[in-house]
Assembly symmetry: C2
Homo-oligomer: 250 residues x 2
Amino acid sequence: MAVKKENSIEKVLGHQFSAFYKIPIDNFFQFALSVDCVILGYDEDTLKLLAIERGAEPHMRKKALPGDLVYPNEDMDLAASRVLNELTSLDDVNMTQFHSYGQVDRHPVGRVITVGYYSLINVDQYEPLANSWADNVSWLDVKSLPELAFDHNEIVNEALRSLKQRVRLQPIGFKLLPKQFTLGQMQNLYESILDVNFDKANFRKKILGMNLLKDSGKLQSDVPHRPGRLYSFNKDAYESLLQTGYTFEL
Amino acid sequence: MAVKKENSIEKVLGHQFSAFYKIPIDNFFQFALSVDCVILGYDEDTLKLLAIERGAEPHMRKKALPGDLVYPNEDMDLAASRVLNELTSLDDVNMTQFHSYGQVDRHPVGRVITVGYYSLINVDQYEPLANSWADNVSWLDVKSLPELAFDHNEIVNEALRSLKQRVRLQPIGFKLLPKQFTLGQMQNLYESILDVNFDKANFRKKILGMNLLKDSGKLQSDVPHRPGRLYSFNKDAYESLLQTGYTFEL
DNA sequence: ACAAAAGTGTTATCGCTACACCCATGT
DNA sequence: ACATGGGTGTAGCGATAACACTTTTGT
């Protein structure tokens, strides 16, 4: 053991009001906490981001992530679900926390820590809702995002990076697809998230070989080409494969 | 657009002191922020966690993660580096943020949000330091952790889960090894992190096939068996492979 | 007839698994 | 001599990549 330092605060949290330490603990309760939600959907063969338009300063009129301050007596995870619900009326959707942002100067009003959550939703189940902080809700193409409010561009990029990793190792891509989908749609989705091209034949063999899809027996209709077979994700099959040590990949 | 809700706070952040909203914005600045550091090392063929022993209530005498409150004018990432530095004298070590914890009741003193960071360090370069919140620093075997203070067990488990994912896709395992190491040590490390067994011959072929190791020409000494060849991680080789689209795996 | 996407089959190759075997060092 | 881990070679299997080809729909 070498130097002995006495400048820490953690111990204050223990002693609470010990006169020994110079900084009263109350001085540390000056932060606000917010959540920002990166809500992704997939429509017209492109990945879309749900954005609001700010109706107030700062960053008036800029596009922004839906986000909100967390109430002092509200759990963080619940706050994220609340925001999503207020905006989309969606319920029971997993919000996944991916990163927190704590730069001193990131918010002009004061020291606001924000926690980023993302969620993959099925646009068919989505019904846009206006509310006090979201007059104008729209889907933006993630490939060509404008400049967003605050540090929201950085937050979105981080979410996409995180998505890119997770989507290869867990069957979460299905959350973006309609309940029933063709293998073509699925391939398209993975290609646009991962930014690669797959060989059609090989992609099908791989996916069908996983035995995670249930064939609905139905076909597409009203498409100007041969209609594709409609599949749905077989969650039960996945759960039981997990027991046997199976891991989804690619 | 359907219902119009007026209960949000985000807009308050815009108007700041608008009389329209019931809740004054000041009411939201009641949080404290802390960082908790999961510092992992590898010694005697086992993965170890750096822990302190608390010298104050709450959780007096329990083992805990080194952590500290963040100053109101201090960047979060810097706070994490500060804690590591105060405890180990190590500098220039990447602290990687992995998850934040915002349960209302997680800290008895008040609403404290904590952000978890982890870091992989080389125990050879580590020199333990005492300070005001860490009288008693020790390495714990991660396979048999005791009950830790606060929600620190949960935090460690999350860090290990995160490590398990990352270690397969990025060459970060080397951070835990001495500068020069044998393939046997390396295999051992990966086996204990991932909790699997590799075939010796196959592991070597795979690793050497990556061309990420530099053969030092030297051999181990003072081992009661045939001495192993010592390699070091070739960071330059990795960087240039990255350019070509290479991705490390397993 | 044509465009466009669905859907299938074949082949060659690469990588991984399993396993057998030899080597060098300290006790 | 033996225990211990270092180090290597090979045969077989399975997954993957590349590519050519057929099928079914709407216009």
